[in-house]
Symmetry: D3
Subunit: 176 residues, 6 copies
């Protein structure tokens, strides 16, 4: 870091270092997919509330699923330099781990467009996790959201990308 070098690596800044919504007009419209996941760890008492028989008709994960999908659609209003774009598919999966008292949320977002949907998938994951927190916080305020990351993406000029999980990153193993 001795020499000041250009910041061209960050596409959200132009040559003079100003933030902008980067020009994607020259990119071609392609099918783009992004998959992201994250998890929330909780106490045994909170985890027990996730059991369907506890909440009769109410279902924490059903509500979190809808919130995650709606959250994907609000991405460009939340992330300042994100392009507004259409979505052709959003799917949400949950993995409940009774040994860790944790729930994983995985969101798949797809579009046909000039830019990727990584931020949409990640935003969906976090809104889903925050909604689980909100639903269970009466029982456990200390829950912790962890390991929110992009699992893989496909489409676009940069092509396919898969997260390189190392040995310490066991949480992802079952997601892919």
């Amino acid at each position: 870091m001795n020499a000041i070098v250009s910041n061209s690596q960050l596409t959200h800044f132009d040559a003079s270092g100003q933030a902008h919504m980067v020009d994607v007009g020259q990119k071609s419209e392609t099918h783009r997919i992004a998959v992201a996941s994250g998890q929330i760890r909780m106490s045994a008492a909170a985890f027990e509330q996730l059991q369907p028989e506890r909440n009769k008709k109410g279902d924490v994960l059903a509500i979190a699923r809808i919130a995650a999908i709606s959250g994907c659609k609000q991405t460009s209003q939340l992330i300042p330099l994100c392009h507004p774009l259409g979505l052709t598919r959003v799917a949400v999966d949950f993995i409940i781990d009774a040994s860790l008292f944790s729930v994983s949320v995985q969101v798949t977002a797809e579009t046909f467009g000039r830019t990727g949907v990584e931020m949409e998938a990640l935003t969906g994951v976090t809104v889903g996790l925050l909604t689980i927190y909100d639903m269970l916080k009466a029982v456990d305020k200390g829950m912790c959201i962890e390991n929110v990351h992009l699992l893989r993406k496909a489409g676009g000029k940069s092509g396919d990308w898969v997260h390189s999980n190392d040995a310490n990153d066991t949480n992802d193993t079952n997601d892919q």
Copy 2:
């Protein structure tokens, strides 16, 4: 878990197990504070981009700060059962850890009202972290958001609450 018990522990469900926006009309208007934090871990290459001299006028954290504040204001549109409420203060702090290549975001939200602002603080944290991801993803798509949790809250009937981390260390240190 032998017997089915009532789900009254989850305030977001009524006696018949239906989700609802819980009645806070009987609560008194008090000064309420919530502080939440979370962090994002990244590669050395991405971390280097955070240095101000790399981005001239553009500043990743300045943009994340604004996004976090705006995110707080969008909480009730994101979290289905959250009450819409006014905010009397939002502040955002960053802690950069060069040894871990990580950035912590801490958001303090305050209101005078009938319900707490925990979700606002947590939403601000996640939107701030997602914005950092968005700004740096051209360099590192594998960044990971971790340890998003409530640090403390004050005000309201349930009174003060502090995350039960080792008391000797300031809020974040032992969260991992």
Copy 3:
């Protein structure tokens, strides 16, 4: 209608006939409640899809419930002259009528404020019904939303009000 009379009956217009968001600053903050309902009639085939065992984990009404609550919160963005206001409670009930192949949605909205929540309750009802339509339209595009109206309100200077159902308005009878 021979003589032009003042339009003072419509509070949304001022003395010169201009639309405005009416001044509620002089009103006192009181507990206000509004209850509204409406229904959607559908084919037998669509109605059958509402049975829980048909959709396994997916639940049309659970999603409509969340949409109705979220819809309440978006009222002031949808209805031009509505005051933005906080909500202290929103509850949604469904009544399924197997003889009529219909579902009724009833929304109760509450606040402490200077203006009523009738529009919030009515907006919640219609968003809930539209969501049912959206979920079932693959089976029946001809579904019809009917009988959306205010059942009762309480609070405020104008005091309590209950819908006066006449004999032809049998749909409401069971709602109250």
Copy 4:
């Protein structure tokens, strides 16, 4: 209903019964049109307020028209599993029936895209009707929204569709 059959008829649920935003990525972009209508019945006193000479420059229906158009644009924020999409045209027509003291709102929505605009048209209709209610509620709180339904759609794989009015459904007769 003896046997549990698959719920494949509801496209908003996947094979395992989970709600999702259905994949439209394989659909071709075509010109899509949807026309929906609905009406609001009111007292004679409220109906009289609709006369232009009553409200001078203020015009209830002009405001409802703008609300209906804006409402169309907010559809994907209101209906959880709706795809966000562009709109190439929105038009709103009113039919005033002095004999029934009713106003019908008809909305035509169009797009070029991978999914239809039925929900946009229906949402526009209901927001228009709710706005009329809001404007006139100072005179009549008992107004009733009725007969909100899709009149016809064109475009897309499922092709053209027209509502089949039967004899009991006389309200539609004049709409087409």
Copy 5:
């Protein structure tokens, strides 16, 4: 500017120079009013289109009025550090000046709260003016928005304030 002094004059920055949503929790709830105005100058051809007899039922200013009111309600989503707050009244007036081919928009916003509504009034003015531009741009793309400023405010600790028009600022004279 020889010495670096503290930036305490800008309330939106804290003592360390970080942007924040300023703490208004200690302020008392008072009746607050703000009045702002601005104008748009246009060609004779565009100005002629404002005449009611040109557009039959369509009315450029009626639509701009609704847009201005809706714009006020969206202020805290547009201005990053603005507090979300309720509004107890919004009124919009137009002054048409045939000699200058200009239209002035004046917005009065009111609330009872802990912070002022200057930004709401100014946002309403600009959204109203932008809507006039949008409606007339088919005739004149060169229209210019000018002189958007706060006319006066009342309420709050800083008390009443009136814009001090100097001799060159004749546009305001008639507004007050």
Copy 6:
């Protein structure tokens, strides 16, 4: 103006004078660019606060830049008859004029679509200017927003257009 002529010049009104969102379905998708600008004049005291050394890490213009970009994305929610559309690029430039105590904001918006982005560029400019006002109003409430106009547009059937600055419109001269 003796005779009533058709209002066909205003595309936002149909043949019967009703406002509508104009049909752009027949237009071809082309690359469209719009550049708009505007300025805010302020007191010497407010202008001095813009100096970076005054606000340490806080930067008024950096925040205004993000607000302008976010504002562009909210255009169709603010301007009633604007089509919702994607944006492929947004860039914001500031010109600080120390002799006039003014800041100019210039926004470039681009898309590939069936309709232009003039309103997006103009909305971005005004939101940027309003944000500067908000940040500096603690020092100077009398600031004035001026000269907000379209500089040029390209693309679409109507082709390229450049603002024709006359002699009285000296503010624009340097912008192009």
